[in-house]
Amino acid sequence: MNNKLISIQEAVAAYTWDGMTYCNGAALPVGSDSIIFGFEMARQNRKDLNVICHCGSQQINLLGAVGAVKRIEVGFSGLEVYGFAAGLNRAVAAGKTRIEDYSNGAMAIRLFGGAMNWPFVPATVNIHNDQQKCSCDFPDEYPCSKKIPLITDPFTGKKYGAFRTIQPDVAAIHVTMADIHGNAIMLGTEWNRFEMSRASKKVVLVADRIVDTDCMRQYPNLTRIISEVVDAVVYWPFASYPQASCGLYDSDEEMMFGMNKMMKTDEDTETFCKKWINGWNTREEYQELIGREKIEKISDTATAFLLDPYRKWIKDDAEIAELEKRAKE
């Protein structure tokens, strides 16, 4: 098996491009998401993205605010108790981002169908209401007949909605821990990451911790993402910051509110980007930005015990630096 470790800058340069269909995971608004990958996409000035975003997150909030999102398919675009996603909503209201609404359940089964290589999936959700009737792709037709067409069950004659399945060009998936080959274990809700990892044409893992493969051999039932479907692995502690990573750190309440507030205007977004997008080059510099005190605070999580069984396989930074060097050879 290959050593797939790669830097965040290289991963974004190699696996993203303007106009692509990009999928972020877990796309949870408070918990797991590959936030740092989206930050780096903003730095590399990716644009015209077609985003598959099961739920909103600070990643898509930022990419929306900087005008990188041309179109988005989403089940829930907000930040839960942290509020509406100011940057994304601003782009939608200004007509810069077209938004195609589904429910969370529909997004999950559409990824499942993509993983199965099916053309569509039948379901009774979303039909007979405005997720079916309204489409940003066919705005002149109301009620829309093309977005979720009704089909007939050949066995019972009952009507179902037919949902177009999803096969994103690339998914950047946040995981708690991965080995250098791309086997990964996630703590907390998996949300849609299992299906997403199988539906996407290319997969980049963004891992808070790198572990030895012996960890997966001890808990093979929990290795829900396997190296077979993974193209690259990025090691990045606090990859989901300011959101949470179950077992490792809580969401940073101050930064969650503060960042969202800054997404409200172009000026403040620019100020935010100066620091958080362009103000670092390495993992160490990024952690300096977060600050030692804040890192201690968010790392004091009630979920820390969930990581206990895996700790002995976690590699330290010096070991990982060596592995990264070897990956380039």
């Binding site: 907000g78 209401n129 109301y142 809700t189």
Partner: protein, 263 residues
């Protein structure tokens, strides 16, 4: 006794939740109402979130989200959206759910997607909303699949509308047997609990009527705060005040006092 309208709404919603139910809880008020019920009178409630966080209770205050670490430190199982919203909800297995509404109409249809100057159904074409909200999230799946569900909403005439701008989560659609004809798995909303009172659907027409009002308001105030001609039950009654025990149990779940800050 001192309490906020939001606290009363959470307690009134919690009272609608029965022991031994399998229930899916959304973010915010929904979770507080659900875990209040579990602590107060429904110890055998089996609760899960749409992320498949099963068997957990909040630790450290109101969870910031359905996947927050505050709801992830004592779970029995973590699965995923397909399991929670698909295998447990869309299958018809789940007894009850709680969803919020930015707008709700007389048939219990809920809008959480956006606010339009002229909504698509009136305009005959889709245009982006003037104010984008969040979308349906898992609420549409809950509204379609749960055996019954509860709606929570702030009671104002601009929110309680004859027809909502956008149906994000279906109630009884156009009323009568429209929902049945649509072929949904679940039975529909059993109550709307607002900041002023409790509305229930007429068994035939499915139009929501006023069943009970909170002690600090009146039937007239509620009618004035409703955007359709609200029918009132001949047996309309006052909702009992929260008891000391209920408030204590709610505040133990709402450890950070989120419902006391919101007035």
């Amino acid at each position: 006794m001192e309490y906020t309208k939001q606290e009363f709404m959470a307690i009134a919603t919690g009272r609608e939740i029965r022991d031994n139910e399998l229930i899916i809880l959304g973010v915010g008020l929904s979770m507080l109402a659900g875990y209040f019920a579990k602590r107060n009178h429904a110890p055998n409630l089996r609760a899960f979130t749409e992320g498949g966080v099963y068997g957990a209770t909040p630790v450290g205050g109101l969870p910031w989200g359905i996947e927050c670490n505050r709801i992830s430190s004592n779970a029995v199982s973590f699965t995923n959206a397909i399991d929670a919203l698909g295998f447990l909800v869309s299958s018809g297995r789940t007894d009850n759910g709680v969803i919020g509404a930015a707008q709700v109409d007389k048939y219990g249809n809920v809008n959480t997607t956006g606010i339009w100057d002229e909504p698509p159904w009136k305009l005959g074409r889709y245009v982006p909303p003037r104010i984008r909200l969040n979308g349906s999230g898992g609420a549409n799946d809950i509204a379609v699949g749960c055996k019954r569900y509860l709606i929570m909403a702030s009671h104002e005439s601009r929110r309680f509308m004859e027809r909502v701008d956008y149906v994000s989560s279906p109630g009884y659609l156009d009323g009568g047997d429209a929902r049945k004809k649509a072929g949904f798995v679940g039975g529909g909303p059993s109550a709307i609990i607002s900041t002023l009172g409790i509305l229930r659907p007429n068994p035939e027409t499915k139009e929501f009527f006023l069943d009970a009002y909170f002690p600090f308001t009146s039937v007239e105030e509620i009618k004035d705060s409703t955007g359709w001609h609200l029918k009132v039950s001949p047996d309309v009654k006052q909702v009992p005040e929260p008891s000391e025990r209920e408030l204590k149990n709610l505040r133990e779940v709402d450890a950070t006092g989120s419902l006391r800050k919101s007035g």
